[in-house]
Point group: C2
Chain length 429, copies 2
């Protein structure tokens, strides 16, 4: 009887890479993590599964529908849908064991049962930094987290990107000033600015607040030019306290970005940036790849006044930035960046024994590893041709062939698979 | 009205570390991963959630009860309970896109709803290597994966450990020879050898197969001494084909371990090692920390003849080794290894501005980062004393104090928090 097999497959909306792509994914992740680590952030790791009552304390509607929630025994469980809510829980739980200001970084998978569509994943990596303090946190940190993302992007030679920066207090101040009562609906509309046609946006805005107020808001949102110019324009409108606070914070962020060597070409002020209606209260930002804006933001974040308010009465203001690493990788595949990613293989070696020379192969292996090279022995029986092809297919740049003759002469033959060049080298070298 | 809070807490059986411990955990993981990478393994990453029909194809009874399984929409889902079953699925699914022999490494969280007890986690990291080939795989790989674990353990300066190595074909051959019909039950009993008293073990064994056969099996299992001695003893008993094959494979593994520079002190032959009744067919091994054997194996694995038989008719023999990283970390905490773990902080810097010197601080930050040091600026307003204490509590070894005087003189004051020594240094240095 023929055996029946289960078709080997994964769920839709889950990313799985081949080893060659995975090495690039890991290389990108580790370069970014290294930047965060070297800049003084501390790693944390939290469970993927948490108590539903803890994870879903704040959310409702859309988020709740997307969450992977289930029961195990008597417990209601949920998979984390971001790294921010677990971070809030972590800080509240370990309040007396942490040093403040606390700077964390975290890489982890999160889960959202989104509609299945290209570039939207149900399991994806987020890579977050947050700085959090008790009572008060300097706005300089808002600029600092952006500067770390900037360093990370340079480290991986990301194609041209632009941070889009705003401060939500500015529009909040304007809304107060204009006596806009349905401000949540207006915020919601502005948040979707990129996704609708300008005409449609204007029509909807007028529907919500009338023509006069729409004109005023449109005027403010359309200030353009260099960041300092926009800030100067904003300063001329002395609207109210909350507005002034927003403008001053924005001005300070720009100043510190400059001091922290973030180039003016790397960012724009864009007052249309809202970042949803959730916890952000001050600085907000997203990041677009220039020429590929339609893929959406690859790195976003902002300032929150009180992260853990559902878990503790300690006031914990913070600022965070999150890279959607799985989505970023997808976009980088789409635009050809991954295909041309330079994963250095010049120090990759495959040692091929011909005949019973394994002892000698082990000596060579040791020498190569001690030099910091990447090396392994081909143990299987196969033709030399097949072994060479194996190295070639894996992108291993150097092949060391060790036959009995080589053992006697204490020499090895090294073939460079890229140049095709062959060298006979003393084993000592 | 007083606000009510959700108690910030995680589920029992989940490990969560403070940042200081997390850095050590990450350091251990990255050192091991680096050994695997440099020795020519390739990374893969698979989803945490898979289709139930795929993950649970082979398991039954105990495993199935422990699995986190749930529904989402119409799909039956399960969280992976190891990295081996997903690897089998991965290889079968990507059969035509992989190069064989394929050497993978993978670090990931797995889930088992075990009874809650100290040192047993419901979410834990596994760190696996496997080598897999089509049709046939040289037994030299069995020694090679052990040699990589050995290198990894040396890299993290693990306290004295011992690999316990066997080959299941040896006992299988003996069982055949003795005409033991209830061999599964006997294997099961031997698998639990460590967990019962010797007397009880003997009584149960005699109950199962009678005194004569028990004596014979006990005799073989009690061969002791150096690996070569045991192999020589085993060779004298020329029992049958399967037995001879097992002894020859074991002899070859020992020979290659020697060639690959695994010290004889690092391993024992122990024929009582079975590794459960699942997929292993030849070489099997576990690893005990000497003096702390009761904590169980920290690194186990073995040879399987046909990994992906439920997904494909391609024969895929392989050998794998798995470190239970979460459990290992727990054990290392218990025995004081983590407390004395030397995470080098001599190049950790905190830059403290006194007055409005942030611009100058940024210049110093840049210089320190370019030297490869770990450095950040303290942005908050606080007393100098509080700032110093912050550095001290975080284990940051050097503090750079930059006041307005330092800016004028183009000098900085560096205080070593360990020695208490203060230096005034030109900014250029």
């Amino acid at each position: 009887m023929k055996k029946s097999f289960i078709r080997p497959s994964i769920l839709p909306g889950f990313m799985e890479l081949l080893p060659k792509e995975q090495r690039i994914f890991d290389d990108i992740a580790s370069k970014i993590l290294d930047v965060y680590e070297r800049n003084g952030c501390f790693p944390i790791d939290t469970p993927v599964i948490e108590k539903s009552e803890v994870l879903l304390v704040k959310s409702g509607g859309e988020t709740e529908k997307q969450v992977y929630a289930f029961q195990k025994g008597k417990n209601n469980l949920a998979l984390r849908f971001d790294l921010t809510v677990p971070f809030a829980r972590y800080v509240a739980q370990h309040l007396n064991e942490l040093e403040f200001p606390f700077k964390r970084y975290q890489l982890g998978k999160v889960y959202r049962g989104e509609r299945n569509q290209r570039g939207r994943y149900r399991e994806f990596y987020q890579l977050d930094i947050d700085v959090i303090n008790k009572d008060k946190l300097s706005v300089d940190n808002d600029a600092w987290v952006i500067s770390l993302a900037s360093k990370a992007f340079k480290e991986i030679s990301l194609p041209t990107y632009k941070f889009q920066i705003s401060n939500r207090k500015i529009l909040s101040g304007v809304f107060d000033y204009l006596n806009i009562e349905n401000s949540l609906q207006v915020m919601n509309l502005i948040d979707k600015f990129d996704k609708v046609m300008p005409d449609e946006f204007n029509r909807e805005l007028i529907d919500l607040i009338g023509e006069e107020k729409s004109d005023f808001i449109n005027k403010i949102m359309s200030f353009s030019g260099a960041p300092n110019q926009i800030v100067n324009e904003l300063k001329k409108l002395d609207i109210n306290d909350i507005y002034r606070e927003g403008v001053e914070e924005l001005a300070r962020v720009i100043k510190i970005l400059d001091i922290l060597k973030v180039d003016k070409k790397e960012y724009d002020i864009n007052l249309k940036i809202i970042r949803g209606l959730d916890y952000y209260t001050g600085t907000v930002f997203e990041t677009k790849l220039i020429g590929y804006e339609s893929y959406g933001s690859i790195c976003s974040g902002g300032r929150y006044d009180n992260l853990a308010e559902n878990y503790t009465d300690t006031i914990l203001p913070g600022v965070g930035i999150s890279i959607g690493l799985t989505r970023l990788f997808f976009v980088l595949q789409e635009i050809g960046f991954i295909d041309s990613y330079n994963l250095s293989t010049e120090n990759d070696y495959l040692i091929i024994p011909v005949g019973d020379t394994i002892e000698y192969c082990s000596i060579v292996l040791d020498k190569l590893l001690k030099k910091g090279y990447r090396a392994s022995i081909y143990f299987e029986e196969a033709s030399l041709k097949k072994k060479m092809k194996y190295a070639d297919n894996l992108g291993i740049q150097n092949v060391v062939i060790i036959g009995e003759e080589e053992v006697i002469n204490k020499k090895v033959k090294i073939k460079n698979m890229v140049s095709g060049k062959e060298d006979i080298v003393e084993i000592e070298n």
